[in-house]
Amino acid sequence: MIDMDAVTGNGNVFKENEAEANCYAARCLLVCAGVGAGAWLLNVLGIFIVPGNIMNTAMAMLVLFFLIPTLICRWVAPEWAWVKYVVLFCGIMGVFVLSCAMPKHGVLAWTLPLMLSCHYYSKSLTRLTLFASQVLFSASIYIGMYVGEWDQILLDAAYYSGPRVITRKLLVDAGFFFVLPRAAILFGLSAICTTMAGRTRSLLEKQERDSVERQRITAELDVARHIQADMLPRIFPAFPERAEFDIYASMNPAKEVGGDFYDFFMVDERHLAVVMADVSGKGVPAALFMVIGKTLIKDRTQPGADLGSVFTEVNHLLCESNSEGLFITAFEGVLDLVTGQFDFVNAGHEPPFLAKGKEGYAPCRFHAGFVLAGMEDTKYRAGSMQLMPGDRIFLYTDGVTEATNADEEFYGTGRLQEVLCRNGGKSPEELLLAVKADLDDFVGKASQFDDITMLCVTYRQSMPAGQ
């Protein structure tokens, strides 16, 4: 049935994201390593003027730190839980080294780890990154004063007196006028990253819930479709012991559960009933209505019953349980295998095609009554005709004739009649396959919009009377 892990949303999507985030963050750091290496090169070439020993040490460390995440993602595995800490730690350490070496420019890079942490959609991880950044980068200001490039703006003109002298007062002032404001700005900026992480996370959670719900509905519709398909007689040959007739039927449902159905059954030893019907509309309401309709028709078709009365009664019962205003177009026929008499009733359904003897298929011009479940007091009248051995009847729903190709053209009764006549001599099964193949050919790449349902019965020989 349904995967409970998926329903409760145990964070698979976040685990997946974490691995991706590691890779993305590693890539970002790779770019930063490139920038660092570029600056290093410019300094070696003498275009930048940072003291060589500082630059050579700091940039080597920075490039190394920024490369580690890529190495891990490529050579170890990006999906392990500890990788994200290593990635962010490397990001912080690289910026820390930069900030120690070049305090006045490094400060711009302070937000880098925070921004990296946004990839993980985790507020707590972003907060942890903020905390580590604050501690280390504040420290870097002081460390930078001793080992880094000298930052003149650390010293107001009042203190600056040529040589690099770090007084106690300077240390205190640096705390107040550099560490504190910068930490405050970093903190302020972190709000963007925390909220973004939180917001993306909740979006992702919602998306996951929705997709779980969608999966559940799809699964249930699938079950419904199976139940519906199982209601139709689908085992062929259906009556291998009967030499008098041959029957075959098929239904190709459109995407969802639909409202088409066919049915055939022995009313008694010598009467074969065939039904072809189409419920208005599609989806679950149509499918449920189809179940009621099919059950009622079969139930009311008793030996000796007049088909007009059967439909009149079915219509009445359907009207009682029809708050949705659905209706069914239906054709039912009952063939007396002894005499060849074919009684039928038509409630607004496409008239069947009939092939007499060696002639081709032609549509029967039966009078059609109103659709089932349309009007409460509709009276239906049965018709009757005589079939001879060798005669064939083809029933279908409008999904066949209204199948549409990419040019929005209908398949139409003309094409149907043509393909029926071309394959007139074939068995019911071969005929249906031939029609389906022709239909598929016509429709091409256009999507199937309606159920495609067909039934063909051949009256092969009359049944000896008195059996």
């Binding site: 599609k282 205003g325 359904h349 008239p351 059609a368 659709v371 349309g374």
Partner: protein, 99 residues
């Protein structure tokens, strides 16, 4: 599908254009529901309607039932294809159809 409404006192004309099928039937149903109150003469103009499926027939049937209670309904400018659908389905017997 495009639906053009014309109200004249207690008579309402809905002109349909395009395809009336499963996808567009809810739109037509909503348009009917919203404007049929107090209407005694409902006219459905199908001059520009290209296609009518069973889902559309269902809405027509609902409209006919509503109008049976409060007035009358006519379906006008019906082309041959739609007329054939009305005849095959027996709708020709319950609707007032004019060519």
């Amino acid at each position: 599908m495009k639906i053009t409404k014309t109200v004249n006192g207690s008579s309402l004309c809905l002109a349909l254009e395009g395809r009336l099928d499963t996808t567009t039937a809810p739109e037509f149903e909503a348009a009917l529901k919203a404007s049929v109150d107090g209407i005694t003469e409902l006219t459905i103009d199908m001059k520009l309607l290209d296609y009518l499926s069973s889902a559309g027939l269902r809405i027509l049937l609902g409209a006919q039932k509503t109008m049976n209670k409060q007035g009358s309904m006519r379906v006008i400018h019906v082309n041959d294809m739609i007329q054939e659908i009305f005849e095959v389905t027996g709708f020709a017997d319950i609707l007032t159809v004019e060519a």
